[in-house]
Structure formats: structure tokens, C-alpha cells
Symmetry: C2
Subunit: 225 residues, 2 copies
DNA sequence: TTCTTTTTTTAGACGCGACTAATCTTTATA
DNA sequence: TATAAAGATTAGTCGCGTCTAAAAAAAGAA
């Protein structure tokens, strides 16, 4: 396997994250990568030649087996790095993400193994995202958000969105991080605020915030594979 | 200050290391960078436009103040990383160097500060090379090698060459690392082997090896600024 | 000083990864 | 179903960082 560029790796990662069952649209890739659609088409042609994706003109794109493997490898780097930067080096949520976003492309397998070991082979990163194994296995994530939970129900935070680090700071302050037990006490109508209880203490949060908190009804870290 | 590419940073570092008093030759840069002379000329033109070097056609090149600052910043990253990788993460000599060579271009100032702090603000890397300070101060290195020391003299290893990691493994086994006290017992003529005593135990090493071990007559880490 | 060798630069090319503008294909709407 | 809008691709350009081959300049030898 020849050396892949940072750009190639980031495209594969983006496609992986956009790709559910079906195929991924050029425009969607352009949006998350913050480049023009023309740039995406150009890259897709090259990724196709490298047999990392399967692209049919005007019909979207899908990762091949090889492409998936690369994407998962980069995601593994990213999540191990995030965990290491936060747990061992004391980075904040926002610094941690930005740093991992760059370093994920530049660490060696040796480095990956060292931090994995130093962290005690973690299965999830600080957001609660599953860390792919070295051979490309990955647990699937909870899909229900706290905003969808009915009053009276008790859930456990599985993972949180990694999109907005200010939000993460807020969630940390509110105690809404992976593994927190949450009891939904009340929901105001018309997308109104939600009253939750954690460790007995009640707290009111907005519906918007709640929609970035993903929950499960059982203990989350036993749930996945 | 805009973002500089890895290539630009590595050129500046190479020029810094080649540059003594005078100017650096295109061919010498080409050799250490392992690229063609034409590539070097091309890069020198661009570095000149960026005001990082001062290049006169056919007359060699010198770093400007700004160029020196960048070079020292990268060298600081490199040496802090080497120290961190070896001391905290348990990398070997060869892995440590290769890893630092890449990561030096990709860590943030935040990362730099964290490892500096975690290491207790070291002044020298595992080779004994001085680590530039954040504001670009650097201690100068010893220039006498163990091969030049006369029998009967007692010296302290200041630093070792970082060129050959097999050699470093050997030096580590022999106990010839920075701060080791060495008593030169005997030197065979015609570039023959040198007998040294360390902690009482005698050992015979080749002249070639000895020429990669730089020594001082006083305690080295008190000597520099 | 003149010729030869070495060093450096120039000229022209290439792949990467981005861009804009124009065009083509597909999908939605009237 | 014809037309308009949205989505995707093509065409052409650019800077980066590399290359080889050829030309020019500097240094060394006769
Ligand atoms: Mn990235
Ligand atoms: Mn994450
Ligand atoms: Mn480097
Ligand atoms: Mn070093």
C-alpha cells in the first residue's frame, strides 16, 4: 500500500461518514470538505482509479472495501488521538478535535499502538464514539437523541455530537457526557425546553442541545459489539 | 504568519544545519534533502520571495532572521518530540527520529507546550542536542569528538550524532550517551581502536564510532547558555 | 590566460489538489 | 410533457514541488 495524501484520507473519511446504505452525492462531499463540486468530481476520478471508491458519473459514489479500510484506519487514529489528547495531555474539547484532525494523517502504526496501550485499549473516544479496532471492526452508535425521549423515561448518554466544541463545553458543564444517567422529567411543547434530572439534580436544557445528545436505554458500552 | 508547507520547513531546517558562518551551496542542500539541484534552485527562488532566505544567483544562500526563526521553531519541535517519544512513550532511537521528523511539522503550539511541560522543560534531547527556547535561543554544542581526546584525559559525553540509529543502539549498549563520564585510557595508532573506562569498566571502541561522540571537559549541561 | 571540469540555473514537463466558468444530465415543477 | 431548477461534469487555469536535459557561470588546471 503506497502512501496516501492527507487530502485522499480526508475525502475517504468524509464519504464514510456520509454513506449510510446508499450512495453519496458529490455536492454533499463538497459541503463537508468545504471545496467546490468540481474539485470533488476531480478527486472522485482519482479515487476511482486507485480503486478506493466506486464512482458512476451522475450517480454518486460508494467506498470500496479498500476505501472503507482506509477510512476506518483514519477514524481509529482520530479517536485514539482525541482520547489521548484529552485524557493524558489535558487538551480541551475544541483543541483536541483540531489537533486530532491533523495528526490522524501523520502518526505511525507504532505511535497508534503506543497510545492505544497507554490508554488501556479504549473502545470509545471522549465523545462516546466507538473506536474501530485494528482490523476494522466498529460498534454501531445509538441513534435516538435526548430530544426524542419521552417524559418519565430513563436513559444513559451514549455519545455526543462532535460538531461544535462550544456545545461540548456546555454539555461538559451540564454533566451530559457519555455514560451519564439521565431521567427526562418534563418536555415543554412547541420544541420547548426539556427538564432532566441527573444524580437527583434537575436541569433545564433546550431542545436544540438535546438533539446533539445521543442516548440508549441500557448501559451503552455493553450494548455494541 | 501564513502556514508553511512541510517542504518549506524542511528546506529551512536543512539550510540552518548546513550554515556555519558563510553561505550554503545549492548542491549541499540537494544532497541532504535528496532532491535534484534544479529543485533546490526552484525552492530557493520561492523562499527568497517569502523573505525566508537571502539567495544570490551562483553565490549560495543564507537564512534571513525570519527564516532562522522558522528553522529553530521546527528544530525545537523535533527535539521536544524526540525527547517525549523516547522518555514518555518508549520509542527506540530509530523510530523516535523518523516519527519526530514527520510530526515536527504538524503539532500545534499547544501540543508543543504540553509536552514541554510534561517533560519538565528539558534543555537537551536524548542525543544531547540543545533544544531551542520558545523565543529562539539555542545553546551551542561541543565540537570535540571522543576520537580526538588524548589518552589520560577525562571527558563527559555532551551529545551524539543523530545520523545513524544502529550506531545509537550500539552507543546505548556501550553506555556512551549524553552525560556519561569517560576516561580515555589508550589509543592505538593508525586510526586504531580506543580504550575507554566508564564507571571503572574498560571497553574498546573503534575510531569511527568515537568520532560520532561529542565531548566536553566539564559537565556539559552546565556549560551552554 | 585559456581550456576543462564542476556547480548552478534555466527550460520544459508532470502529478496533485484546488479554483471558476461553461456545459451537460437529472430531477422537479408547472 | 415541456420547461425550469438543481446537481454534476468538463474545460481550462494555477501554485506547489518534483523531475530531466540543456545552457550558463564559476572555479580549477594546464
Ligand atoms: Mn483530517
Ligand atoms: Mn470523536
Ligand atoms: Mn521534517
Ligand atoms: Mn536530536
Amino acid at each position: 500500500m503506497r502512501m496516501l495524501s492527507q487530502a485522499v484520507e480526508d475525502y475517504l473519511k468524509a464519504i464514510y461518514k456520509l454513506q449510510g446504505d446508499g450512495r453519496v452525492a458529490t455536492n454533499d462531499i463538497a459541503q463537508v470538505m468545504e471545496v467546490s463540486s468540481a474539485s470533488v468530481t476531480n478527486m472522485l476520478k482519482r479515487l476511482t482509479k486507485m480503486e478506493l471508491v466506486d464512482h458512476a458519473s451522475y450517480k454518486g459514489v460508494r467506498l470500496t472495501g479498500a476505501g472503507t479500510k482506509v477510512a476506518l484506519e483514519i477514524i481509529r487514529h482520530h479517536r485514539l488521538l482525541e482520547t489521548y489528547l484529552k485524557e493524558i495531555m489535558g487538551f480541551s474539547w475544541s483543541e483536541m478535535h483540531a489537533e486530532a484532525e491533523r495528526l490522524e494523517h501523520h502518526i505511525s502504526e507504532e505511535f497508534e499502538e503506543r497510545i492505544d496501550e497507554m490508554l488501556g485499549f479504549p473502545t470509545h473516544d471522549p465523545h462516546g464514539h466507538p473506536i474501530p479496532t485494528k482490523d476494522g471492526q466498529i460498534a454501531d452508535s445509538a441513534t435516538q437523541t435526548l430530544a426524542e425521549v419521552e417524559p418519565g423515561e430513563r436513559v444513559v448518554v451514549h455519545h455526543v455530537s462532535d460538531a461544535d466544541s462550544d456545545l461540548l463545553e456546555y454539555l461538559e458543564g451540564a454533566g451530559l457526557l457519555p455514560n451519564s444517567r439521565v431521567h427526562v422529567v418534563e418536555k415543554e411543547p412547541f420544541n420547548g425546553p426539556i427538564t432532566v434530572a441527573m444524580d437527583g439534580a434537575e436541569r433545564v436544557i433546550g431542545r436544540e442541545v438535546a438533539s446533539h445528545v445521543f442516548v440508549a436505554h441500557e448501559r451503552p458500552f455493553e450494548a455494541g459489539a
